[in-house]
């Protein structure tokens, strides 16, 4: 099952987070039960990744800012920052169009955490970078 679907129906990770607060299980154990969206990480195009994330109807948004150098001295380490100004941002995904697998990372942003993330990705070749943001149950993207 797709973890996003689990989140949508309000079970899964939400219930586990509650259990953590109650001190029933330690964070590490909660992680062991966490899922990894294999289907999404195996997609090979931006459209397929969007579909796998449940965001096929995504709209382009100017409120998502992608910061990356125009030239990476080394494609093995490309620093990327994604910042969303869309209210109620819940998740940010990073997609590298030309990589063998398009989806690079998917971050869940709980309330109280800034819709801002910096990480470093590998790029197989010159490529466009897409950010996909889930906010208020809807999907948005930017390139």
């Amino acid at each position: 099952m797709n973890r996003r679907e689990a989140l949508k129906v309000g079970g899964g990770a939400g219930a586990l987070a509650l259990a953590t607060i109650a001190g029933l299980i330690r964070p590490g154990e909660a992680l062991a039960q966490q899922q990894w969206n294999k289907a999404a990480f195996e997609t090979k195009s931006v459209a397929a990744t969007l579909k796998a994330l449940g965001g096929s109807g995504s709209t382009e948004s100017a409120q998502i800012q992608i910061t990356a150098p125009d030239i990476a001295e080394n494609g093995a380490v490309v620093p990327i920052t994604i910042e969303s100004a869309i209210p109620s941002t819940e998740a940010i995904a990073i997609l590298i169009e030309k990589n063998p697998n398009t989806l690079s990372a998917d971050f869940d942003i709980p309330p109280g955490t800034d819709p801002f993330i910096t990480t470093r990705v590998k790029m197989a070749e010159t490529s466009n970078i897409y950010a996909v943001v889930k906010a208020g149950g809807k999907y948005y993207h930017a390139a």
Partner: protein, 106 residues
């Protein structure tokens, strides 16, 4: 066992700014070794950051996150002296948990 992470957590206004480096090969599963054999994929799949028992960030990663991964983010509700705990789990089930004490203004 995996080497420790380096976590820096500092107050930035009313937010906690977290920067973390993790020691991990992040093998793509596409690289060949000297003898031409494929090196199996070995990469972090899940990262969870907690503060005061609450998850403040969770992530799923693929093989294209760089070796020795770096992450930078900010959350509200933390105070100097409190702890931030970060755990990663990779595709072989190896894991590592480290924590850092939130420092004053950076």
């Amino acid at each position: 066992m995996a080497d420790p992470m380096r976590i820096r957590a500092n107050m930035l206004g009313d937010k906690v700014e977290v920067r973390v480096l993790m020691a991990h090969e992040m093998e793509t599963g596409q690289r060949k070794d000297a003898s031409g054999a494929i090196v199996p994929a070995h990469f972090i799949q899940n990262v969870t950051v907690t503060h005061a028992g609450k998850t403040v960030l969770s992530a799923q990663w693929g093989t294209s996150i760089s070796k020795n991964p770096f992450m930078h983010f900010r959350f509200k509700g933390g105070k100097p002296g409190e702890k931030v705990t970060i755990t990663w789990v990779d595709n072989k089930g190896e894991r590592r948990t480290d924590e850092a004490v939130i420092g004053g203004g950076s």
